[in-house]
């Protein structure tokens, strides 16, 4: 009997051994896979406590808040997101909708600062909190935007003459990169997108993603997503290249002429027109050619500068890079809301490339292959205004915790040294001359503003289909406080940057500084 009892012991040891082997299998070998399995209910917990922090404008205007709609602990979404300013700030603030997955939370500041605004663990500050950590709470965010400026910008776009009312205005603080206003048309109403009713939200999501007649989606800011040919505003980039990369050209005297013939092609570039018969003659040094916006002259300067200098200068300003603006980069349907501006590379501008050598001439005055967003063009103006220092554009001013204590204040950062301070200092008087004696002299800039601007009238298409009217600038020239870019695309032939974008620029500068 004792032998059999031993065998019974062996049997039980085997049984318990199997238990431990299987336990090792589950709790060691497969532990990580099980813990992270999508079927693991822990990984599918719907958090109904979807409270988020508030978002304020610089002056304290409430832009977004969470309102409790169900008691704590209930198994439905307890908070609804509300946007008191409606479509005024919708493209900046974005929309969060935890209850409706199609909308989610991946647009605007909401998406970018989702972790800060959402429930998160608070840092432990006292010894007693070490033992009982505080419950997760939300932080609030204050933005740099000025509701008054934003309001003026939206009104200016709404008051545009003509059938096509799309456009964008970006106002920056050139010294810090703070975005003071960023208005785009078309835009959308955030309320239906924030609706807890999936049908309402999904319908709004569908509509806001439909391009309008001009091809712009309301959900995406025209100011950051759609690059548009900058026309003569690109001459600021070319001028910077002249001062920094080939200073001899600063005194190059271009003979007064109607058109400039291009190498490697039978095309000619005529000032302000498709053909010589419609063109007006221009010429001289850049001192006269920038205020007058002389296309043939800048075409020639572009050819003299060459592929490398042009593309290098454009890269220094941030072309072909995505400006690091703090709105959610990832929109679920279309991708990045902030798109890079386009400038041909040195290789593309070299012989044999596409567009090759003629592209040097076109790019020098911002047509054909150059496309820029309003944001990038505002950054160009801001870089000139700030001694060549291009600051990181940003919306965040500060983060405060639930008790109102400041958790973080945004510290301005340099994005790019776009040009030398000397070059910037030499460009400023040229841009002031645009107001006093150049293309913008008829816009009625009050002298007290000390405005320095550059007009742009991009002829889109060959032959010209439509005009993209631009104006970029900053004020006051002696101590710039704002840098502005205005773009109104899809305008009729015969419109000019000065006539369409000019009045808007005046209104923005007066609203900001007046």
């Amino acid at each position: 009997m004792s032998r059999r009892i031993r065998w019974l012991g062996v049997l039980l040891i085997v049984c318990f051994g199997l238990v431990i082997v299987q336990l090792t299998n589950i709790q060691f070998r497969r532990a990580s896979a099980l813990a992270h399995s999508p079927k693991n209910p822990v990984n599918n917990v719907v958090n109904f406590d979807n409270q988020r922090g508030d978002i304020f404008a610089a002056d304290g205007t409430l832009l977004a808040q969470s309102v409790r709609v169900a008691p704590p602990g209930s198994n439905r979404f307890q908070f609804e997101r509300q946007y008191p300013t409606g479509s005024l700030f919708s493209q900046i603030v974005g929309v969060c909708n935890d209850a409706v997955a199609v909308v989610g939370c991946d647009t605007g500041v909401e998406g970018y600062y989702s972790a800060v605004l959402g429930l998160h663990k608070q840092p432990i500050q006292t010894l007693s909190q070490l033992l009982s950590p505080p419950p997760p709470s939300t932080d609030d965010i204050t933005l740099t935007v000025d509701p008054h400026l934003q309001q003026v910008a939206m009104e200016q776009l709404a008051n545009l003459q003509g059938p096509h009312k799309d456009g964008a205005i970006v106002v920056l603080d050139p010294k810090t990169g703070a975005v003071l206003a960023m208005a785009s048309q078309p835009t959308y109403d955030p309320a239906p997108l924030a609706s807890p009713d999936p049908k309402v939200a999904a319908a709004a999501e569908y509509l806001d993603n439909l391009p309008d007649d001009e091809g712009y989606k309301p959900i995406l800011p025209l100011a950051t997503f759609y690059p548009i040919q900058p026309g003569s505003t690109a001459k600021v980039v070319t001028t910077a290249a002249i001062f920094d990369m080939d200073p001899a050209l600063a005194t190059y005297n271009y003979p007064v002429s109607l058109c400039q013939a291009l190498p490697d092609t039978n095309k000619t570039i005529c000032n302000d027109a498709d053909t010589a018969s419609l063109a007006t003659p221009c010429g001289g040094t850049i001192q006269t050619m920038l205020p007058q916006s002389c296309d043939p002259g800048y075409a020639e300067l572009g050819l003299l500068l060459g592929a490398y200098s042009l593309s290098q200068q454009a890269s220094l300003f941030g072309f072909n890079s995505r400006p690091p603006l703090d709105i959610a980069p990832d929109n679920s349907t279309v991708g990045y809301a902030v798109q890079p501006s386009l400038y041909p590379t040195a290789q593309q501008l070299s012989p044999g490339g596409n567009p090759g050598v003629p592209g040097q001439a076109y790019s020098a005055f911002g047509q054909q292959d150059v496309e820029t967003t309003a944001l990038q063009n505002a950054l160009v103006a801001a870089a000139v205004a700030n001694g060549g220092k291009e600051m990181v554009p940003h919306f965040l001013e500060k983060i405060t915790d639930a008790q109102g204590r400041v958790v973080e204040t945004y510290k301005p950062q340099l994005w790019r040294q776009a040009m030398s301070p000397q070059a910037a200092a030499q460009i400023i008087p040229l841009m002031e001359a645009v107001v006093t004696s150049g293309t913008a002299s008829g816009d009625g800039f009050p002298p007290s503003l000390q405005a320095a601007v550059k007009t742009g009238t991009a002829q889109v298409g060959t032959p010209t289909q439509s005009i993209a009217d631009w104006m970029i600038g900053f004020a006051p020239a002696s101590n710039p406080k704002i840098a502005v870019a205005v773009v109104v695309p899809d305008q009729g032939l015969g419109t000019y940057g000065a006539t369409v974008a000019g009045p808007i620029m005046v209104a923005m500068m007066e609203a900001a500084l007046g």
Binding site: L8, V19, Q27, L34
Partner: protein
Amino acid sequence: MASTAGPPRYHRVPRYAFGPKPKRRTELGLLVFGWVIITALYVLASLARSSKIPPHIGPFLGILFLLTIVAHLVNRWLVPDAHPIVLPTVVLLNGIGYVIIARYDPAFASAQAGWSALGVLLYALALLAIRRTRDLDRYRYLLLLVGVILILLPLVPHLGLTVGATRLWVHLGSLEFQPIEVAKILLCLFFASYLAEKRELLSIPTARLGNRLVLDPRPLVPMLLVWGFCMLVIAKEDDIGFALLLFTLFMVMLWVATGRVGYLVFGLVLFALGAFVVAHLFVQFHERVTIWLDPWASTSNSPACTAHPPRPTCFGGGGDQLANGWYALGLGGVGGVGIGLGQACAQGCALFISALTSDMIFAAIGYQLGLMGTAAVALAFLLLVGTGLRIAQTARSDFARLVAVGLTALLGFQSFFIMAGVIRLLPFTGITLPFMAYGGSSLVTNYVLVAILMRISQEASATPAELATGVRQPGERAFIRVG
């Protein structure tokens, strides 16, 4: 030196001269070790949840010390030479189980403490009542009768209570208990008694079949009858766990008593037949096996359950229990999520595990304490089983030896079946994990079970007289002096 007149002087006998070790002192030391572990877990569980020393730490420590000291003193008084590690292991398992119950089902914690107290009381009473193991041998058929009545009790109208699909409970007023837990010990005693008497008859071929001698099947008949009757009744009560346990008990005891492999073969054939019959008799059988093989096919978010109306293979979301237990074990990993922490719960959360503090308590241990906790618990049970088998080896009579084997097999296989069920080595059978799971009947009964083991162990230890003379009581196995 000249001896002086007067009464003869006796040498003072050193207190522990006879045994190699002071067993009760070892036991006390191990108990202190157990207290430290249990108290640490209890305090940590509370610290993790509310950063506070548990409010009931006073009563908790009081009850823990009181119960263990009482059991220890009873041991010192009644079974001073019994094996020293049985009680500390039982206290450790009971204590860890209590901490887990207090964590997940605080409402049941005080009840469980009460059941522990009753268990210790009955442990003492059992040791008091059973002064000699062979007394039990005398009441063989009385024990059988009581056991059978207990098994039948749940079927009595107004008395029985159906919990889940299983009609295994009896309620008297507000008091409910599972009589089969008691019956398992009584059946074990009956089998041991019967086999001890008939084991020669059962192991030596005496019947003539043609010109060959074969085993006489007749002595087996009463046992088979008892066993078959019990199985039928349990089938009626639809409790597959205990059916399996009693079947295993029967086979183990028959084989250990007789040593005939033929019985094992016979048993396996019986098992195969039984499994076939069982598949039709037990309503739960098909469901249990299906859920065991693939719990994910019948979780409450599986296609079978989300259909309108739910398909029959949903089993009311029956897969949740095992699937979530499986994930809880995985989340626990090697070190566990930490006692008192984690998102698992008994109901009303994403990672809910039904019967978390009873049938599924092993999953809760794995979640809180990780592989280290589950392995420690499994090894603790193995330690208990090993000790039980050692006690069986040293037992003085065939009856005592078979009782020890049977009780140990009950303890070992019951814990194995439920642990293996939780980790899906075997189909999940809703039996309790001895000493750990919430449940009065199981806890109290297992204390009595241990009391009988302790009594056998005490009898097995050599008395001072025996050590001196090397002679045992008449009728007992020859005493072999070791060393």
